[in-house]
């Protein structure tokens, strides 16, 4: 009898084979990290079932089983390898296996050279991810599968990492999108993730087998794979047990006495130990004193039962929770509510108001305000008077508890928000970037995975003796850190405490990136639902080394701030629906596609009674407002417009030397005029690939070899695919170590990705070998040498050419490039003058040339314009900066412009002129530049704002950031 035991990240599976390799017993269980106990249990069951079998062979497999196997000297089989063994035996002729597990995703290519792909350290699209999404939708994964059967449309959901996807899904929910559509979209996101992340250039074709939990249980996920791969995959019997089977089939199996084996495993305690932190509390007294101290901070705000005088309503429609509060004239709380929003805040607020009116029939709400993701929707739905940005709401509330507050940190469900306050104005804002937004909902998901409710789970950690040191990293990494800790024998208490500590570390070191507590401030107010958790609060105080203020109502501070704001700005008459109005309240949702421009945004239209409506999903104001208010000044649009001239030349065929295809991405957004002039002057036609789009990206994603490279680079694969379909004589995309030298820095490199991406394309897009792909190394920074070299290159590919012609064409190209840059700068100056005259705020939206691509910037430039500002580019002001002195080696040309632009903004001393830095996710260079740009700005008292962009299409968070910036600079300029 042979036993295969598969110890996965979340489940335990076993298979018993008889001598003919037939399955005679199998078992599947979630192990909730109690691996040893559950294993013993499982083996004991087998023992009972087969009382005559004393000698058994056992092989362990699975990532969480390595520890046991090693220590107890039980044979171990790597799990992917085990899968392969089992598949070869059970389903001969299989070409590809796709296996999704709790935290792993794998593709095995079995034919034509074995290749195995597992998800790397950046992992989304696994079972845990689906569970996380299900929690978000407030249902079980199985239910998601059911409703996904009837979907109308698929939304784009970022597929790289769970946290990203979450920030796509949440707004969809808040905007009232249908859950069946979202469920189906999630499955498609998983498919895209698997293909983009794992296939890495290999086509998935032939006989495909689906294995693992998610693919076994979720028929719609299988369908999504089938549809995307255009084939019908096999979901075999026992698809959960292939790893266990492969383990059982291991050849050099060792045999054990099963009773001794069970005893051995029972006695197993993980070896090693793990890195740990200081305990949160060592005694009950310490804990009580701590609680008492925090309670005192909130004594001056009372809860009242009866209302005398007027009432003010505040609502915080956050991403995962909805908070509402009503206060009296003395800012005491009449009633409040804190609820998970379950995807749609509207019915929750309706119910809250109904209850309010029932309980206090005579109430008169004098003024109301709302903040949060659902701000606009709630305003429209209920006629709320003010919509304010979250930062302002929180600051207003915090002042009530700590008048001298100089730092607020709010850890909510999905966001970490920190505001630094100087001179009674918001001086600096830190929001978590999509990658580290673990925080509250992460704790919740984790508690769930381990079989606890969040409060119960967090409490476990209070008196833990050796909290696991999980470091500060994003959610996905944390998963495997926890796995490691479990392997090392950490108790659930210590894991709980460790997770609370790591949430704090994330906030401090990833978001704020503080080096010391002093840097934060003297008077710190902490808030947000996550801080209601005493373990997190304690961890925070320990980490920064001094006491902070946590209001009793930490979870509803946003709403409380809104109520206070409403009070301060009351006109005496509120438009909020009264009891009568609520009775007639209706809410209807319609979906449509906007055809106002190329974006074709999918719109969700919420229609309320009385004709109030709210449209979401739009990237610009076109579908919502009838006419634009005055002209907009956006240098991004202007630059794009300039480039349009170079997109396609039309030399008559008989006179043309041939057609050159240029992929429209990365540095081509700057150099296109140069190459266009050069080639057309020599008699070539030039064709560029079409504008980037989602479908263009998807068409190339199967050849992306590194899933963590930046999105602009990934897009190049799609552009190449598009060009391959054009009938061009050659595709031209040179390698450029160096850029032009604008004299702004110590050197003028391109970043490694911009410099050498053509190499990656050549190596991974096979079809490029069948065409003339010119990806020579060229040095445009040395004009004379370049001309000579380029002449040689041309002759290499197109035969004899006169040097004089090439030389002239090169001159022409350099001139054309100069002209292009001059136009950009002139137009930029013009916008600055207009802004000055009209007293408009100006944002220098500092990125790289390729951030012009609307598929990359997601319309952030337009969003800024919609908020009433003028947008200029970094390269339009970089030449106006005084001598830039950086504290880092200023060696990349595109980035030297950002430093210069920052210097220009910092020196201008104009509160209306600010800089926003665009950062591509995964851009390693920006780890250096962001700090430096921040330093340049902050040394001169400017606010630094950074926006990280990736495949993400949701602009909600970006909008908060920008509004906060305007609110902060607005405050600044009035002081």
């Amino acid at each position: 009898m042979r036993i295969g035991l598969d110890v996965g990240s979340t489940t335990l599976k076993c298979v018993v084979l008889d001598d003919n390799d037939r399955i005679i017993y199998k078992d599947y269980q979630r192990h909730f990290s109690q691996i040893t106990e559950k294993t013993v249990h499982m083996l004991s069951d087998i023992r009972e079932k087969f009382p005559d079998e004393k000698e058994v062979c056992l092989t362990i497999s699975g990532s969480a089983g390595m520890g046991i196997a090693d220590t107890l000297n039980i044979p171990f089989e790597q799990e992917v390898y085990a899968t392969r063994v089992a598949v070869n035996k059970m389903i001969p002729g299989t070409d590809v296996v796709i296996e999704l597990g709790g935290e792993d995703a794998k593709i095995l290519f079995l034919t034509d050279g074995l290749e195995v792909r597992m998800n790397g350290s950046c992992a989304g699209g696994t079972g845990a991810f689906i569970d996380q999404m299900a929690t978000l939708l407030n249902m079980e994964a199985g239910e998601m599968n059911e409703i996904a059967k009837n979907y109308d449309k698929i939304y784009t959901i970022a597929s790289r990492c769970g946290v990203f996807a979450k920030s796509d899904v949440q707004p969809l929910l808040n905007q009232g999108a249908q859950k069946n559509d979202i469920s189906a979209s999630i499955f498609y996101a998983v498919v895209n993730q698997t293909i983009a992340g794992l296939a890495q250039g290999r086509e998935i074709e032939g006989k495909v087998v689906y294995l693992g939990g998610p693919l076994t249980f979720l028929s719609e996920l299988r369908k999504a794979f089938d549809n995307t791969l255009k084939l019908t995959g096999v979901a075999p019997e026992n698809s959960l047990y292939f790893v266990a089977m492969g383990a059982a089939l291991k050849k050099d199996n060792k045999s054990f006495d099963i009773d001794e084996l069970i005893k051995k495993i029972e006695g197993y305690t993980a070896t090693g130990g793990y890195a740990s932190c200081k305990p949160l509390f060592t005694s009950k007294e310490e804990f009580d004193k701590f609680l008492d101290r925090h309670k005192k901070n909130s004594d001056h705000i009372k809860k009242v039962d009866t209302l005398t005088g007027h009432a003010f309503l505040g609502i915080d429609a956050g991403s995962t929770t909805v908070k509402a509060v009503v206060v009296d004239e003395n800012a005491n709380i009449l009633c409040s509510r804190y609820l998970p929003n379950g995807g749609n805040p509207v019915p929750l607020i309706k119910e809250f108001l109904e209850d309010l009116y029932n309980q206090y029939p005579d109430i008169h709400i004098e003024s109301s305000a709302v903040t949060g993701y659902g701000e606009e929707m709630i305003m429209n739905a209920f006629g709320v008077d003010y919509g304010i940005v979250e930062t302002v709401a929180h600051f207003t509330a915090a002042k009530k508890f700590q008048p001298d507050v100089d730092f607020i940190i709010d850890i909510g469900g999905q966001d970490i928000k920190c505001f630094q306050i100087r001179n009674n104005a918001i001086d600096n804002i830190f929001l978590n970037e999509a990658c580290s937004s673990g925080c509250g909902s992460f704790l919740q998901t984790f508690a769930g995975a381990l079989g606890y409710g969040i409060e119960e789970f967090a409490k476990l950690g209070l008196f833990a003796d050796k909290p696991v040191d999980l470091g500060s990293r994003c959610t996905v990494f944390m998963n495997s850190s926890v796995k490691q800790a479990q392997k090392d024998g950490a108790s659930i208490e210590n894991i709980s405490a460790g997770l609370s500590i790591s949430v704090v570390k994330n906030a401090l070191y990833k978001v704020i990136r503080a080096a010391s507590a002093k840097q934060l401030g003297e008077h710190i107010v902490v808030q947000g639902g996550t801080f209601l958790n005493n373990a997190v609060l304690r961890a925070f105080e320990q980490e920064i080394g001094h006491d902070v203020v946590r209001p009793e109502m930490a979870g509803i501070m946003g709403a409380y701030g809104c109520a206070l704001y409403a009070m301060e700005n009351s006109t005496g008459k509120s438009g909020v629906l009264d009891a009568e109005g609520l009775k007639n309240f209706t809410h209807e949702i319609k979906m449509t596609t906007c055809n106002g421009c190329n974006n074709h945004c999918k719109l969700t239209i919420n229609i309320f009674d009385n004709g109030r409506r709210f449209v979401s999903g739009n990237r610009c104001d076109k579908p919502t407002s009838k006419k634009a208010e005055g002209p907009q000044y956006d240098l991004y649009t202007y630059k794009l417009h300039l480039l349009e001239e170079y997109r396609r030349s039309e030399i008559p065929k008989e006179r043309a030397r041939g057609t050159i295809g240029i992929p429209m991405g990365l540095n081509m957004y700057e150099l296109l005029p140069f190459w266009y002039a050069l080639f057309t002057r020599l008699g070539f036609n030039v064709v560029t690939s079409p504008n980037s789009s989602r479908s263009l990206y998807l068409s190339g994603q199967h050849t992306i070899p590194s899933d963590t490279v930046c999105f602009p680079a990934k897009l190049m694969h799609g552009h190449i695919e598009a060009l391959l379909k054009e009938n061009v004589d050659a595709i031209f995309y040179p390698c450029l170590s160096y850029n032009f030298d604008e004299g702004l820095g110590d050197n003028h490199y391109n970043c490694p990705v911009v410099a050498y991406y053509p190499e990656v394309l050549e190596a991974n897009v096979k079809a490029l070998r069948d065409v003339k792909f010119i990806y020579e190394y060229l040095g445009i920074h040395r004009r004379k040498d370049f001309t000579k070299k380029f002449h040689k290159v041309l002759e290499k590919y197109f035969g004899k050419m006169k040097f004089a012609d090439v030389s002239m064409a090169c001159n022409y190209a350099y001139e054309e490039y100069e002209k292009h840059m001059r136009l950009v700068r002139m137009e930029g100056r013009k916008y600055l003058r207009i802004a000055k005259r009209e007293e408009k705020p100006v944002i220098v939206l500092a990125g790289r040339p390729y951030h012009l691509d609307p598929e990359i910037n997601h319309g952030i430039n337009k969003l800024i314009c919609d908020l009433g500002a003028v947008v200029v580019t970094e390269d339009s002001v970089s030449d106006m900066a005084d001598h830039v002195r950086t504290k880092v080696l200023n060696q990349w040309m595109y980035h030297s412009r950002m430093y210069a632009a920052a210097e220009y903004v910092a020196d201008a001393g104009d509160p209306k002129l600010n800089l926003v830095q665009l950062v591509s996710f995964g851009c390693g260079v920006d780890a250096i530049t962001t700090d430096e740009v921040r330093r340049i700005l902050e040394e001169k008292g400017k606010i630094y704002t950074q926006i990280k962009i990736d495949e993400i299409t949701n602009l909600g968070a970006v909008k908060i950031r920008l509004r906060s910036l305007f609110a902060a600079t607005g405050q600044k300029s009035t002081k």
Binding site: S63, M66, Q78, E79, V80, Y81, L114, M118, G120, S121, A275, D469, G471, S472, K483, Y509, R513, A515, S516, P705, S706, A713, C735, S737, D741, G743, G745, D746, N747, H748, Y749, C751, P752, V753, A755, Y756, Y757, E759, A763, N764, Y777, G779, H781, R782, R783, K784, D785, F786, K789, R885, K887, V888, N890, Q891, G922, G924, V925, D926, A927, I928
Partner: protein, 441 residues
């Protein structure tokens, strides 16, 4: 185009008094950095990070002999990582985080007088982020309240100078010799240790020889071609005498970002893990990287134009390295059956037509070339070790695996990411998978 100063090496190079160069504008970042002065030279200890224990021990002794007090940093563990996370931007590459974390946590440990200590770090002028480590270190020092500590840039590019420290041409040559010895030890040890009858023989031998060489260096010996030949022969013969038992092992090569590839702190003790897994490990030497960096100057001129005079100077340095390489190879093949390392020229030949020679940032084309070379010489199971999100690696590591496999279909390559959050268990799991495939044969 300004062509004021030109440098011999950019990335991870060692300094050079000769000014050759790479289109570097005159350095603008002098600012308020603390200089390492002549006075400091007398009683300051210069701390250097430890990337490769044997190589760096030899380098340290060369510095000592040239009048500098140098200490090798040996502190490791979670504290180093945490300190790095605290003082360096978390998205910066792992090597920077570790090196800076190691330095600051050493300074904070109380072991050193922070007013009598300087730090040394290689500075690069290449297009990879590594060029900025020194500035990130200075920023971190300020954050940690240690701004008085001078940081010395070890570079070949004339990027920064200090009155108290000068890398002379003689020292440069000595350093290259030291690295060559180091490579020899690494090469022989890797071929022996998995088969040792008495575990630890190779390590003992290395310890003995490091001592011997250091004493020779002190007496200014062991640098001449003659002395070197004699030493190398003796070393090779010593290794040849180690008792081994040849049993079949899985042959695994390691390539990657230079720090992660070599530093056991960065790669979670990769070499020992592999040996425990019954493998023979091959890690290409440091000299290949040095030659690559020197050669880049020549290739730059070939590709984009430049002064012939500068080219000549660089070529001379290249010649010197080739001489050292030749001695190493000869000693191995003449006096033993061990496998000598491939010639740099041969590796370069392998890459021609695969990746452009202009691809020079970070490890550039060399990384891909080393994969090809390993596959060619029987180490077809390859681990590509890189910091998470390493930019050059997107191109020449992960980006080229497909191409390497087209040339050597039997190549079995697994890229492994290293960073503070990546756990050992996941890394080892992936490596085990690679080994399972390898053993299938």
């Amino acid at each position: 185009m300004k062509e004021s100063t030109d440098n011999v090496m950019n990335e991870n190079g060692a300094g050079c008094a000769v000014n050759l160069s790479d289109n570097m504008n005159s350095a603008q970042i002098s600012g308020d950095r603390v200089e390492f002065t002549r006075e400091m030279k007398k009683d300051y200890t210069i701390l250097i990070p430890d990337m490769l224990p044997v190589h760096f021990k030899l380098l340290r002794n060369i510095f000592l002999q040239n009048g500098y007090k140098v200490g090798l940093l040996k502190n490791t563990g979670r504290r180093v990582v945490d300190t790095g996370l605290k003082y360096v931007h978390n998205d910066t590459c792992y090597p920077a985080l570790l090196v800076i974390g190691q330095m600051i946590s050493a300074l904070q440990s109380g072991k050193y007088d922070v007013n009598k200590v300087a730090l040394m770090i290689t500075q690069t002028g290449g297009g990879c982020r590594a060029s900025n480590y020194i500035h990130l270190l200075r920023k971190a020092l300020v954050k940690a309240g240690l701004s008085q500590v001078p940081v010395i840039s070890l570079n070949l590019s004339g990027l920064e100078s200090n009155s108290g420290f000068k890398l002379t041409l003689e020292m440069l040559y000595q350093a290259l010799i030291g690295l060559t010895y180091g490579d020899l030890f690494m090469l022989l040890k890797n071929q022996v240790r998995s088969y040792e009858v008495n575990k630890g023989d190779a390590d003992e031998l290395i310890a003995k020889w490091v001592k011997e060489l250091s004493s020779q260096f002190r007496h200014r010996k062991g640098y001449t071609p003659k002395g070197m030949e004699k030493n190398m022969r003796a070393i090779v013969e010593d290794f040849n005498r180690i008792k081994i038992k040849k049993v079949p092992k899985t042959k695994v090569g390691v390539v990657g970002e230079i720090y992660v590839k070599y530093s056991s702190m960065a790669n979670n003790d990769l070499e020992n893990f592999l040996v425990d897994q019954d493998c023979e490990v091959m890690v290409p030497g440091v000299m290949g990287f040095m030659m690559f960096k020197i050669d880049n100057r020549i290739e730059d001129i070939n590709l984009y134009g430049g002064s012939l005079a500068k080219k000549k100077v660089v070529q001379a340095l290249m010649k010197y390295c080739e001489m050292l390489e030749g001695m190493l190879r000869d000693s191995v093949s003449k006096y033993s059956d061990f496998m000598p390392p491939s010639k740099y020229a041969h590796i370069k030949e392998l890459i021609t037509g695969v990746v452009g020679l202009g691809n020079k940032m970070g490890e550039g084309w060399l990384l891909t070339a080393e994969m090809l070379e390993l596959a060619e010489s029987g180490y077809e199971n390859i681990i590509c070790a890189q910091p998470f999100g390493c930019l050059p690696n997107h191109i020449v590591g992960k980006g080229m695996i497909r191409k390497v496999k087209e040339i050597y279909p039997q190549a079995n390559i697994v890229p492994i990411d290293y960073d503070p959050g990546a756990t050992k268990v996941n890394q080892e799991n992936r490596i085990k998978l690679m080994l399972a495939v390898a053993r299938e044969g």
